[in-house]
């Protein structure tokens, strides 16, 4: 539309065509500005959601590059009843979320309060704490897979060095889930720490001075002044951690892929296997819908709870 050669000369005199386009872009901006995002979301979330509903009552086969849909609503329901892995997956997921988030909250809050008193170490800890959050979760998985290795991992090397028996961290049904939770705790304590640290730094110094002048002990100041002031930040950190913990997939996929047996099987891993290892797209769609419904229910409940806590 624009000829590069004559731009400098005609710059001040808008050409009619250009002018019309510019005016159109501006006049309708109010209406089209939201359009790209809405289109992307409609195509990649709304349409798939509707497709999930169609898939959940169908059986889908791939034959010579074509997809064959058959309407079989009862077959997927029967698959649900016959699914032995689903129950352990749900139980493990709940255990995983509750235990790892609880540990992360306690350690994160303690660390934030502990670091706040250290003038020089502060900046270092804050910088380093970002690292686990930004590193690819897959790299974290492979990192810990090396450290947990039975033959040469650092933990077993240390155990052997002090004369103890090596432990099968990822291969024993009793320990595997705890090992996986430990990785999640390592991964996400820094996140809780960073949220809480910002909140601790934001506490007005006068309040702490006043508590000191009034003769409050360290413990009393913490319990009666600091923790109540941190409550909003604790709620935010808790909600985000709970939801993120439920999304976990990458590290566990690398560490154990759900094994041994079903001892670290999580809902997300199970979904992946149903869809892409067993190729049961219809049944997978039904499970997906159930997961989405559960998340929406959790969001609604937690919104209520968060509002109640704030007032």
């Amino acid at each position: 539309m624009r000829n590069a050669a004559d731009v400098p000369v005609t710059r001040r005199v808008p050409r009619p065509a250009q002018d019309v386009v510019a005016r159109l872009v501006n006049r309708s901006f109010r209406y089209w500005s939201l359009l790209p995002a809405v289109l992307i979301f409609a195509a990649l979330t709304l349409y798939p959601l509707l497709n999930l509903m169609r898939m959940s009552v169908s059986t889908i086969d791939f034959a010579q590059g074509a997809t064959l849909w058959t309407f079989t609503p009862l077959r997927n329901l029967e698959a649900l009843r016959a699914d032995d892995v689903l129950r352990p997956a749900v139980v493990n997921t709940v255990v995983f979320v509750v235990v790892s988030v609880a540990i992360e909250m306690v350690l994160g809050v303690a660390l934030a309060i502990g670091v706040a008193g250290l003038a020089r170490a502060k900046r270092w800890v804050r910088t380093v704490a970002i690292l686990p959050i930004l590193v690819p979760p897959v790299a974290i998985g492979s990192m810990w897979k090396l450290m947990y290795n039975y033959d040469f991992g650092i933990f077993n090397q240390a155990l052997v060095a002090v004369g103890a028996m090596p432990v099968n961290w990822l291969g024993s049904t009793n320990i595997a889930l705890a090992s996986v939770i430990a990785v999640d705790v390592w991964h996400w304590v820094p996140f809780v720490f960073l949220i809480l640290f910002a909140a601790v730094e934001g506490i007005p110094p006068d309040l702490l001075e006043a508590a000191h002048v009034d003769g409050a002990s360290r413990g009393q100041t913490l319990r009666l002044v600091v923790l109540p002031l941190l409550r909003p930040a604790i709620v935010v950190a808790f909600l985000f951690r709970t939801i993120l913990a439920f999304k976990v997939f990458d590290e566990v996929f690398l560490l154990t892929a759900g094994g041994p047996g079903t001892s670290t099987e999580l809902v997300n891993l199970h979904l992946y296997k149903v869809f892409f290892e067993q190729n049961r797209l219809g049944y997978g769609a039904m499970l997906s819908l159930a997961v989405i419904a559960a998340i929406v229910a959790f969001l609604l409940v937690s919104r209520r709870a968060a509002l109640a806590v704030r007032t």
Binding site: I40, L49, L118, I133, P136, P205, V226, V291
Partner: protein, 283 residues
């Protein structure tokens, strides 16, 4: 050694010896695993198995991973860079427009609340639930195993963060500035493009960096929508870990390479990472 009174009032929380021990432990716990895999990446496979320390460092793992004839890792890096850069650009463009639109124009409540709520829900839902329909749709469209499919899906997972984060930045721009531009004859789009966007540049940079990292790190979508040709870095690392005979040394080297963007960002961006991860709920 007593700590001198600092300017900030947090000295009332002054940590005693236990506090300092806790912090030292925490620092060590965070950094330790990274040092461990860093040293492993410079060891021969045999040195890893023998648990040798000290050891003679070698670059052979990196050479094998990056230049080896049987390794696609260089191609994986190119794929990751292309996908992350394009999806970030698209997410920023669509996200900035949407965030500004919701902030500036009076949309009916069902549009604005509906849009924001919808993005929030899909930010919270595990992406695994959408992989099935995406897989079917992209296969039917002939986009399975293309970078385009990956770019589109990565835009989708990054849009909620971009919109929510940029909203908090647009809100801080005084409306008088935009109004003054209108008085001077500047159309709504020109005002957005020439005045609001430059003012919101820190927000754009923050959202852009985060979107890039999320796309670079993303694993399950890339795992299911790509095969050998278009696989990204995380998929390649998982392949090392899943081979019948795990290539531990190469896996370590590839993992170290994959953390380079994160290490760079660690020094560049501090505050906005948390605000981005919490959709602007924490500033």
């Amino acid at each position: 050694m007593p700590i001198a009174a600092t300017a900030s009032g947090t000295r009332a929380l002054r940590a005693g010896i236990p506090g300092r021990v806790l912090v030292a432990l925490a620092l060590f716990a965070i950094v330790g695993p990274f040092l461990w895999i860093l040293t492993a990446s410079f060891k021969h496979q045999i040195a890893i198995y023998a648990g040798q320390f000290p050891f003679t460092p070698t670059l052979s793992n990196y050479a094998d991973v990056l230049l080896g004839r049987r390794s696609d890792f260089a191609g994986n890096i190119v794929n990751s860079l292309v996908v992350a850069a394009s999806s970030t650009a698209l997410a920023l463009a669509a996200g900035a427009l949407a965030a500004y639109s919701l902030h500036r124009f009076r949309w009916p409540a069902w549009v604005s609340a509906g849009f924001l709520g919808w993005t929030l829900v899909f930010h919270m839902v595990p992406v695994l639930t959408l992989l099935g329909p995406w897989y079917v749709a992209f296969r039917e469209l002939g986009l399975y195993d293309t970078r385009a499919a990956l770019i589109l899906t990565h835009v989708t997972i990054n849009l909620p963060m971009t919109v929510w984060l940029l909203r908090t930045f647009f809100r801080e721009i005084p409306p008088e500035i935009v109004e003054a531009a209108h008085v001077d004859g500047c159309g709504p789009f020109d005002a957005f493009y020439r005045i609001v966007l430059p003012l919101a540049l820190p927000g754009l940079i923050a959202a852009g960096i985060l979107a890039f990292v999320f796309s670079w790190n993303e694993f399950p979508i890339a795992l299911t929508l790509t095969s050998r040709e278009t696989a990204t870095v995380p998929v390649a690392i998982a392949r090392f870990a899943q081979q019948y005979e795990i290539q531990h040394a190469q896996m370590a080297a590839a993992s170290v390479i994959s953390t380079i963007p994160a290490v760079i960002l660690m020094f560049l961006g501090q505050r906005f990472i948390v605000s981005g991860l919490t959709l602007g709920a924490v500033k």
